[in-house]
Subunit: 340 residues, 2 copies
């Protein structure tokens, strides 16, 4: 299943999700707030998180049907599911709005960022609004368990931001620490998106756990590939300068692996660069790239991402081999081939 | 009941609230985050919002007791009530953290503000964490209705911030608009604090409504007095420069009243000042003060606050004349005499 086939299959759900989001935003009670939310949330995002909620629910519902009773595509999810799914886009959007203010970012997905169009005040408040609506929907359209899952994921995202700042400051080189940051920043929300879908479909513990594991591995694989693209991507496609993570002092898996396998002299040289200021590092990307390549850091990270995608797909083995499962597998495989 | 008598009566509840907050913060999962939250939330705040939740619950519970069955002070609220009460301090704290980043404030209650001690990143994230925990507690320790009340109040706070920005920009002179901003920024959260207490105590609609009305009027009165203190307070006590609202271009009740009652020439003169930049206005505070006084703006606002406090106390008439009611009345009356 290639990218275009996947997109075509997902289109009807994406449209429902977008419609639900427009409708929810239109009730925000202030014209300017509505404008900022529309701008921030409709910027070409792929709706991957809400899609995972809808597909997970459909997969669980279909798994329970007596054979031959219904065609899978006849299982139309109720409106409430799309609203619960939209929560994950709201939380993601809230964190991007706050990130852009924090980083004083000028662009987001090739367009001026919200904070370059409006004041920081308005952008921070718009993020707070999305945050509050998402959690309120979680606990009122969903229930206490749904809220608890989503509240946990939100807290984990914030804890991971703090852990990442400390990691950079301490120049912490442990893979365990690296994956803890990834899990908090991306994995938790993605696995919650899958688990909430399964829970909504009233599936049993085994199915909920399977989708949680799928989401966790998918989220980690996505981030490892992101970290690879930071060094190896085409800036024309990714929209980011090559080696940006290194310039910012972030130690990602390719670099961590190389540093753990080089000799003392090289180790000291690279760690020395990490202690300099960002502009000093910007001129050393070529050297660092060659260093990582020499010690197999890129291959190691690529293999790590492949193993995670296999784990994601294996987690789905408890489900029948149906269309929803094929799409989820297709999404996981796509992570390895994406170029932006 | 004077301020010291009130504080003495409230002390045991304040201690329980503080203990609950410490315990909740200690579970935040990151040492630095915990440090920021402790700093931001334990800065000499009076815990007025959580106190209102506890008092409202106790008043409702006592009102239902058959006469003589229990002493009021024997009605020890369950631990869960203190946790629900703490939500209001968390939401208030989250909005102060974000406000201080937005305003680039250097001080808060006479101490360096959190954003002068830590980075904006950390402070925004700490606010997000409080926000997320508050709503998660609302819907899991409380229930869907509790979450819905608190979610509504949170959204109202953000809508009111947008309304206020537009009010300043449009130089909107309507009293209705002025009170809409106050209600959103302060009234909604305070009335929710009261209503959640009543709801927790399983009181009927009439008692819930009475406490909601009390909170609404109390919150408005508090803000009107705040706006009076901005012109008439002692900077040594309030910690703010005299006329700060006018410098920022905010039109509060005393000024609105004067502008609605002056002649055309004076109107144009003051409106002209409002179109200048803040530093130009800073030199005109004396003139503006005299202008407001001449047209009775301060008296008018003072009377408005008194009427609101009367309304708050009248809303409590449905309850028996017990200690909790006396304290709530005392708190409302205190609003009129406070000097900071």
């Amino acid at each position: 299943m290639n990218k275009n086939e996947l997109l075509a299959l997902l289109q009807p759900d994406i449209e429902q999700i977008n419609e639900t989001m427009h409708s929810e935003i239109s009730q925000c009670g202030n014209a300017l707030l509505q404008q900022i939310l529309e701008y921030a949330l409709f910027n070409g995002g792929k709706r991957i998180r809400p899609i995972l909620t809808v597909l997970s629910a459909r997969l669980c519902a279909f798994s329970r049907m007596p054979e031959g009773l219904a065609e899978e595509d006849e299982l139309k999810p109720p409106v409430n599911l799309y609203l619960l799914a939209a929560i994950f886009e709201f939380l993601h959007g809230a964190s991007l709005l706050h990130d852009d203010v924090i980083d004083n970012a000028g662009k987001r997905r090739g367009r001026p960022s919200a904070n370059s169009v409006w004041d920081n005040t308005q952008v921070i408040l718009a993020g707070d609004f999305l945050h509050a609506r998402a959690l309120t929907i979680a606990g009122t359209v969903g229930d206490q368990h749904t809220l608890s899952l989503i509240g946990h994921a939100t807290a984990a995202m914030i804890q991971a931001e703090f852990l990442q700042m400390q990691t950079v400051q301490e120049r912490n080189l442990s893979e365990k620490n690296y994956f803890s940051v990834l899990r908090g920043k991306t994995g938790c929300l993605i696995s919650a998106a899958c688990e909430v879908g399964a829970y909504f479909a009233q599936s049993g513990d085994a199915h909920q756990k399977a989708l949680r594991s799928y989401g966790d591995a998918l989220g980690l694989a996505f981030q490892v590939v992101d970290d690879l693209l930071d060094y190896q991507g085409d800036p024309g496609k990714t929209g980011k300068a090559v080696g940006n993570d290194f310039v910012e002092g972030k130690m990602t898996l390719p670099l961590i692996h190389a540093l753990q396998n080089c000799d003392r002299k090289e180790f000291d040289r690279i760690m020395g660069l990490l202690k300099e200021n960002p502009s000093a590092r910007a001129g050393q990307i070529g050297e660092v790239y060659a260093f990582i390549e020499q010690y197999g850091g890129f291959d190691y990270a690529r293999q790590g991402a492949e193993t995670l995608v296999e784990a994601a797909n294996e987690a789905l083995a408890v489900f029948p081999d149906c269309q929803s499962r094929k799409i989820l597998t297709g999404l996981a495989n796509y992570v390895l081939t994406r170029q932006k």
